[in-house]
Point group: D3
Chain length 247, copies 6
């Protein structure tokens, strides 16, 4: 169930039986010549909704704008600065913790969010740690939908080296599963995009002129997306279940 | 068209013909006994999508968590602090401005956002104003979907005094138009909720025990929601069009 | 009585009988060809002092620098960024609340302050709302001296359309009442200044070349100022009294 | 001339002949059993006005709330946090620099402001220093009215050891010169207040129960205040003149 | 060569031939019953000095206090909040970039720093990315001394499972190599510490009562430390060389 | 004993008998043609270690990067902004206070740090002062090694006017005592550097082209450094002892 579709008495009732919640977090950033700008938000959102439906979990509104400073040289990218995202995550966690949520699970679609979200968790925990005032703090986790064991194996099986690390055929396929009418089959030139490290948005665009890193998203398909969706829903049910159980 | 469903070359092409964009902004907060927690995000989102479809406008991802500190004593509310929301709006505007967007129109669903978003606009403009470095700055506007002339007239006609100011039958009806299966007809006790000013979340809950202010949302209906949706789409087309035209 | 002219034992004694205080807040910004730069601070200051004298209220030092980023292209304007003003208001409120003040009434002279001060109130209240620690929080209000019912009626009667919205004959008249030797009768060209929205300081100056918005301050007079002073003192006594009484 | 009593064209004209400005800065804090809470703002304000009148200098609005955290256990004290005051000073300096002011002289009435204001100057200068972008930066100085050579000699002559360091007979005399009807002759018990270092507001009040440090303000008088006023005006004319001249 | 032991003309001369620099970064935090509180700063410092000596590289002062909020329930731990460390890293990078350093290599000794330092890099790069002003930005990297290929292999060979992840015998051995008189052989009870995730400092201490995670530091020795030192110096020479060469 | 060379149980044991700690704080900045960039950190570090050895005191890791924005036009300088250093000092103090340290003594080597560190102390104390929550707060002091009575007398005796105020022969001699192989005897031209005030880094370098202010560091010697070391160790033992004793 999406939190935004509940009334507050329904949330209150739910909290009496479970204190866990899934928070999809993504990004709004270029995904190469044929990937959707919302890819990184769409993927964890549809997976979270799919998992939640099967296990009756609660899903918060998707944080759809993340830390994507390096993509800002491509039109359409919207980013938060790391300091801003840290404040957002802290406020979200503190809001949820106030109501009694104790297991807050961020299902993430953007590798570039991970460091900042972890820093945000530490910033949140710093309050108790520095003041020395103990309390019923929530447990926090960030998990990448694309790194679950079923998904990782399937991506490797489907695409091997062509998976790359940005604008991957796996994530693009999953968005096409969600929005089949947005599928844009297209040849890539070169087939595999370049790889490597990067700094700011200028540096990124110089190194990766069409936005991809290492990938060949011409291999994307709705069919693959459906398989990846199923794999990721299963991964998430397993991992979230273990997290809520305290493992 | 939703920005998140475009590729970056599509956004680039679009910018060549229009530099306007609509950014729905709402809140995730209690809306009384039978209102959805996502009401304030759902309303501007569906209206923006409806308007954009008819005039081929671009709609950014919805900023679904706003400034709702006063609702935090009700389970399910997620808020940003004003300082956090100011940073979010600044980063979003700066991202869009970098790509060449020049008319950025926030379609808002939550009265409690207005002051903070206006402060954010001023914070954004302060950079040029204090440093004395001029540049092609975007024009910024925040408009409330519920304050358009057609909507205001219709709300008055439908509900009069029972509209109130939080958890109103108009906004709840609009969410039921969008999610009819979430309609929750329900009697209210007292019929009209109390009115008045408030401070923090404790103060709010003491004054408004079930979350409503001044309203009787038992009057909500899908049918009214559909009429309000049409009115608001028309209002938005008119107001956004004037804004982009520089009026 | 001005707080700054009391000793601390006098404040302590006063708090035993009343926990209300008026905080004048204004701006230091251009006010057109013949308006004083301090207009927005002078007006609420003299009104607050006048009202306080009649009802034995306490008046804090005037916050004379406000949020005026859009006026920075005119010499003499001094502004705080919104984030700075939010911090100032929070610190002032927290200082007063610590001593036991419970009704803190900001009498404001600058429309451009309102959104930021309201964001500051929410920022102050956020502390209790997010941490969930209740306490005796002060009630906070911002009221514009120029929007009281007697003043609004009198401005309309005196100037009608020529009142405009910046460098108005009403506010300039009131400053001339306070500083008659600073009265600068002067013809305006054009008589009525242009109207409209604005962004940063460059945009403002392009749209409003002499600083006025919509007004004809050539109509200002000491006599009108004295009448406006009386009206505003009465408005303030009424509104502050109702606020302290909890209405 | 006070800036707040000028029009913007007057400021523009003035800048053509002088780029200096005096900014009085003080505090709103307890000053012992018979000292006014506004002492530290009143003193530099009246001295700055006196000096400016004689040499036709420009005086900005007084920053009347400073860094007084250690006085917050006494009713009536209003403080800014150091981080807030740093932001205020930065914004004020940046506003003035934008108009072409090049010699900005803070005339200070509160020892507790000095470190924070100096940190603020460094924060302001950091922008150019870190980015490596040179420009016509203003020169900045903070001077204490009570530390000028004439004033220091006169205080020593008048009060010697009884001057102390907070709620001194010199500063209280000067406020009585300015507001003779607020003079409150009073015996002190003990005659000389204790001395020493302090930390937060609790610590301060434990060490200095009536608020004074080391002083005997029963020696204050309007007559002494008038002599101190004259001495300080002369000191300020001399020191500000040298500052503007680049010495 | 340590930067702090150079004169500025020596740095200027050095920059003419190399624009690389190594910045050791660590932490000041508990390291179990017999590990030094400075372990995480000592390790990268001695390795950086060893590597720099052999290849004539420049080494900045060690940032010896890092992000260690989770260790604050153990006496002696000193931590920065993530937001503070982000500001520190940004200021250090900006200082170095201003002088022309173009390859800035953080040699890190504390896993808990990694996310925050990466967020800091993104915060630094955000300036160019958001404003759209390109420039000669430095390349930035954070590398963990304990994750180099030679070190990782040697740790595995020496300790296998007993290496654990905090207060590891490898890092403790390396500090004993640097400070042999501080070696504190000691039995551990239980031999292997527990493993798992953690939140704030209270949670950490409840889960890991003596401070270790997963390790058996009774296996530490000066001899192992010397071997690890050699391995890490070689790893660092290789990795830093590749980084400076642009690989 | 250096804190970084202790284990946490050793710190715990130490706290049972003494709650004092010395925190050396310096800067990484140019020190003229022959002064080491680390001068201001090296000096308080070696003095603190020397004093601590004789009286069995605890010494925290040196904060070796301080507030040196005005030196950034000379290669090798690394600075923190004032706001950053304030955050660092607050976090360090809060970390130490949490463990029960009650007398925290910053031994400083850089005059430019003083204002910012004092502002940081006030920022730390503001928490209790504004919230009105009392607690066992630590006492805080910053002392300059070069201002102790023995050192000041010896510097005057050795160098008189040639001591100057930056890149002084006293501080350079002390670094040569610590690192004799880094002694760089050198003639200065002019012999005495210019004096005066300064603003940002550009202004500083224009006024002081080789980095010195007022000094003739050609007079530096290892022998003088040894005498200054002894004097400073004695000064520090005396002053720290008095501080811990509450005087």
């Amino acid at each position: 169930m999406r939190l935004q579709l509940c009334t507050w008495p329904e949330v209150e009732a739910r909290l009496a039986r479970s204190t866990g919640i899934i928070v999809p977090i993504g990004s709004t950033e270029q995904h190469g010549p044929n990937g959707l700008i919302g890819t990184d938000a769409i993927c964890p959102e549809v997976v979270a909704e799919g998992a939640a439906e099967r296990i009756d979990a609660l899903v918060a509104p998707t944080i759809s704008i993340g830390m994507a400073q390096h993509h800002l040289a491509f039109p359409g990218t919207i980013s938060l600065r790391p300091a801003t995202l840290i404040a957002v995550v802290r406020d979200v966690v503190q809001s949820l913790a106030r109501h009694g949520f104790r297991e807050i699970y961020f299902l993430n679609g953007h590798g570039g969010n991970v460091a900042t979200v972890q820093a945000a968790f530490a910033q949140y925990h710093s309050e108790a740690s520095f003041t020395g005032v103990d309390g019923p703090a929530p447990r926090l986790k960030i998990a990448n939908w694309f790194a679950g064991r079923r998904v990782a194996a399937l991506s490797q099986e489907l695409y091997g080296e062509a998976e790359g690390s940005h604008a991957t055929p796996s994530e693009i396929s999953l968005t096409w599963h969600a929005y089949p009418d947005r599928a844009r089959p297209m040849q890539m030139e070169p087939r595999l995009a370049p790889k490597g490290a990067y700094g700011d948005a200028f540096d990124y665009r110089r190194r990766f002129p069409d936005g991809r890193i290492g990938s060949d998203p011409s291999l994307s398909s709705v069919e693959a997306g459906t398989r990846l969706y199923e794999a990721s829903v299963e991964d998430t049910i397993e991992d979230y279940g273990a997290f809520v159980a305290g493992n």
